[in-house]
Symmetry: D2
């Protein structure tokens, strides 16, 4: 059993890592770090874990924790991860980092987006962008995987087949996306309180959301052209899940059936990508609690557009379960180990 330490264990993504790993045949959560809940059992903070993981949260003392695990998942806010990852990598540990700190290929784009210098540009170069469906082979040999953002995962998986097959105008991509409330993280904030959020719906950061540049960079790498996108996120009253409706202009006349074939071919080796057919539309509930991404393309004859719908669990394929999928690759396990479980649906 490989021993995994979770830093930032009591945030939603950290706790979801523990939940998934508690049923994994090859990994064992050996150490959980939480500043806020130091000294408390993780299962007192998350009562669903009682009997499955009852470790006590400890402080972020590198000397103490480095001895306790072979590999770490860092689930810290951006900025805080820069140094944490550096310490762990320097100590010879493998790391999957859930923050944005190691997702960009250059420190300048990071700085432009997050308004911070990057202290470890050399580590940035080592980091591998962790979408297994796109980067499977390099993830296998990576020591540091930058786990993608939730919106980027959802959008990139939806758009990749169009770009790679040169089916759309490069400057026509407009992503209208919706996240459940867990995307805002676990914190005491008035605007995410039950009474404020339930029954409500609205966009936020209508232009300029930070995930825009992350999506653009990855799509540019994929297509070997400079891709500029429109991206507007919305908040909807559900806990988990994320849906992107992606509007693009087709280069040529197509059909929905033809598009579905193209998507099936593109993702033929990817168990966690389910292309919906026959009019079925990806919906948040079908993927909630899982590592699946449900995707379908639709051809709009009247306007010569391709509209792609992509749904993931923001805490799953958008964070924790994708981290475990990356860990499986990094440690030579079967990619689906511990992850082939159906979501609850109801």
């Amino acid at each position: 059993m490989i021993k995994i330490g979770i830093i930032g264990a009591t945030g939603y993504a950290g706790a979801e890592c523990i939940r998934i790993l508690s049923g994994h045949p090859g990994f064992d959560v050996s150490c959980v770090v939480s500043k806020t809940f130091e000294g408390q059992k993780i299962s007192d903070v998350y009562p669903n874990l009682a009997g499955l993981c009852d470790l006590v949260c400890e402080a972020l003392d590198y000397d103490a924790i480095i001895a306790k695990a072979d590999c770490f998942i860092t689930a810290l806010p951006h900025a805080a991860s820069q140094n944490a990852v550096h310490q762990l990598i320097t100590a010879g540990k493998k790391v999957v980092d859930l923050s944005a700190d190691y997702r960009y290929s250059s420190s300048s784009l990071y700085t432009d987006t997050y308004g911070l210098p990057h202290k470890y540009p050399e580590l940035l170069e080592q980091a591998v962008y962790g979408i297994p469906e796109l980067n499977r082979d390099i993830i296998k040999n990576a020591g540091l995987v930058a786990n993608p953002g939730c919106y980027p995962t959802c959008a990139i998986l939806g758009i990749a087949p169009l770009l790679v097959n040169d089916l759309i105008e490069f400057d026509s991509i407009n992503i209208s996306a919706v996240s459940g409330v867990s995307g805002a993280g676990r914190k005491a904030t008035l605007s995410y309180s039950y009474c404020e959020t339930d029954g409500d719906f609205a966009p936020y950061k209508i232009t300029g959301h930070r995930h825009t540049t992350e999506i653009e960079e990855q799509l540019s790498i994929l297509s070997r052209k400079t891709v500029i996108i429109g991206f507007t996120p919305h908040l909807a009253p559900f806990k988990r899940g994320m849906s992107a409706t992606i509007y693009t202009h087709a280069k040529t006349t197509l059909s929905t059936d033809k598009l579905i074939d193209i998507y099936n071919v593109y993702y033929k080796d990817d168990v966690f990508i389910r292309i919906k057919e026959g009019g079925a539309i990806p919906s948040v509930k079908a993927v909630a609690g899982t590592n699946f991404a449900d995707i379908t393309p639709v051809y709009d004859e009247r306007l010569k557009r391709i509209i792609v719908v992509s749904a993931i669990d923001n805490l799953g394929k958008g964070a924790a379960s994708q981290a475990v999928q990356n860990l499986n690759l990094m440690y030579g396990y079967t990619e689906t180990d511990g992850l082939l479980r159906a979501g609850l649906y109801i």
Copy 2:
């Protein structure tokens, strides 16, 4: 007091009309028609109405009901309204029709969209499209008002200032809209049951929703050009409310502040349109239960786009309260009578 009859009284829009009219100073609900609940008190079907409207639902017997009211609101499915409206108009009654049957200027567009012939094209010509903010004067003299669809109301109010001021490319409008579940009507359908809907989110009718042509015709009338739009609706897990995020390409360089000025000027006489400023974003909860439309335009410098957010209550400004606003105009009352109430918010 003007006596109002409600046909289709036990659907969500019909019942909402009763709710609003039960507090109106100039109208009195005198007759409620419901096939399904004939013989039952409306307040047994909708217990919120107990003590406020306890009328017994009656069958759709024109001879009986025509004597009971001065004016009718028809809240029937499309197709069924064609004949109902004809009977009532022929009997000399004023009508506000909530269906799609009288919303188009030509029977051919109606037939293309709804797949049905129109039996009363001459009535279609008399009907006035009932958005008071656009058609106030002609509504005042109308005998038949076609109350607009919810998505069209939400979208048209958001787009009108852009088209009238010639600020956007006419072929660039893409509407990504979201409705609460009440938009599907009151019926026993598995797919709208609590367990299927709660926690879920997805688009539906990704292309080809019937409201597309209704929006296009009204925007074409407004702009005196042929406007073709993209329109994709989504279903979100809340009961009431509707939000549209409207993506367009600007003709010239603008700013959000400038746009807000333009919107404020355009809607300066319209009490029910609230232009949100200072970064405030329209949200469903702020308008739920009311006749308000909250709107804000945002200029996207990077992509030279104008994004407009528009939020209404699909049962309110999108149906019942807009019907009452139309009735106020048709009967010479103050336009806001019975409608100037704050929504619950919580």
Copy 3:
């Protein structure tokens, strides 16, 4: 128009008072006090109020505010209200206090329950317990009305007819009650965040909730005996509303029909009490947003029990609208002024 000042205007109960009073024919909100949001428009904090009440929140400066209103609603936490009410009463103003500070007949019971001394026991004696259905006449002449707690309102209205008619064993009352999340107030608390609350259900303060003694004192006054009750509150995932299922042992053999008659007689002059008949069961949604209390008694033949179900809106009849009902009485208005509106239901 009587001018009303609201102290604690940005809490849920305070804002609900503004919402209700914004449509009232005889009262005008002239002044809103909020420490946290001083200097901001109340309609920026509560966007549903935009265009209906756009007053700017001010600090709690007694000299400034006393001149601005004839009467005040104090919607402050307990303890804070003690002094606020004293200041306002001393300045000759009428007050409806929403806190627990003036609800008890003796300072000792207050101190036992809230762990605080009472600085103004002489005011405690003047204060009238504000359930109009029980204390209508003395409220009319009151200068200080202690607006009841939400659970006490819901429970007492359900139990009163049983005690007054001597139908149950006095020591047999067990109240199992459920509140929506707004009962916890408007605050940034992790445990009331959307992700923590949605989909969850549990009791809290299983014994010893503070409202226990408030209910006991009022029931004791009503029945002229010392009533001791069991009371367990629960939190359920909805925003507004409250339901109590009250279990009691009948003294004699009865029937549900007979009980309904007794309840109808007891509340024959009370517009806001709706006794549900014919198997209809009070539910939260039927009263949400209103001042109604829906109540039904059921006789359990097998166990010789009487079970009463009582539903109110915790922010309405349990707080703000009951405050307005009290104000109507205090100022000689019709008791239902501004309050006879149907709830949204959907």
Copy 4:
């Protein structure tokens, strides 16, 4: 691998069985029966199952299905199960029946409760009541297990330690319980539609719910006395989960700590029972999606009562996962196989 057939596969409990078994090391779902969805893939009806179980639903043709599985779970409505179970047992198959048809020890109690004769009283005698924590040993050898009702599971597990240890008055048990909406099953019913259910809360079947006699019989068997209970269920707006607050009168003076010790001893060998300590209160979300029952007793000094809170997932420990727990015992597997997974919590 033991092959399992699911009859009634597209109901919520049936589909939950498939979800759980799809990750089980020793069972394989080999056959799914659904009248309504015959010919459709189960994963088209439940898209969460796509890629995990894509069997096609077949008709209830005993000749065809009997060859396909070693054992069957029957998830049919009561009455329909009588014959189905008889056919399967006669064909030599083991059966776990999720209906009420085989839960009673006598056909007369069944008939009194469900208003139907029992056609197979001899099978009723063979059937074992399937709460493993109480009947583990006889379940191991059973050919027919009657899987308990959800309310009975939740209530009996909460009360058993009190009765067995003779701590309470036998006639004092009053169960106030709350179920999520999935308890009503998967059907197109207006009263369980999203708009009717969301935001609402109310009791139903205030007296006389059918589970009353099931609970009474099992408690009577446990305590060897005739136990009569009060039981009132409520419906709350969440999908999964169930909570019972059980009010009883203590025979002697106790303490909460002492009670917790007693519960820990009673359930010391039961992995799926988690006794909450230190003030932690069982809540629905902590057990949703799992086979756990979270339970805590509280001693009410003032009234000399014991209040027990018990929470399960109505579809899990209250139906499908308890069925799998029973199957594990019937086939000699480790009792926790396939079931030791944390719930989602968020």
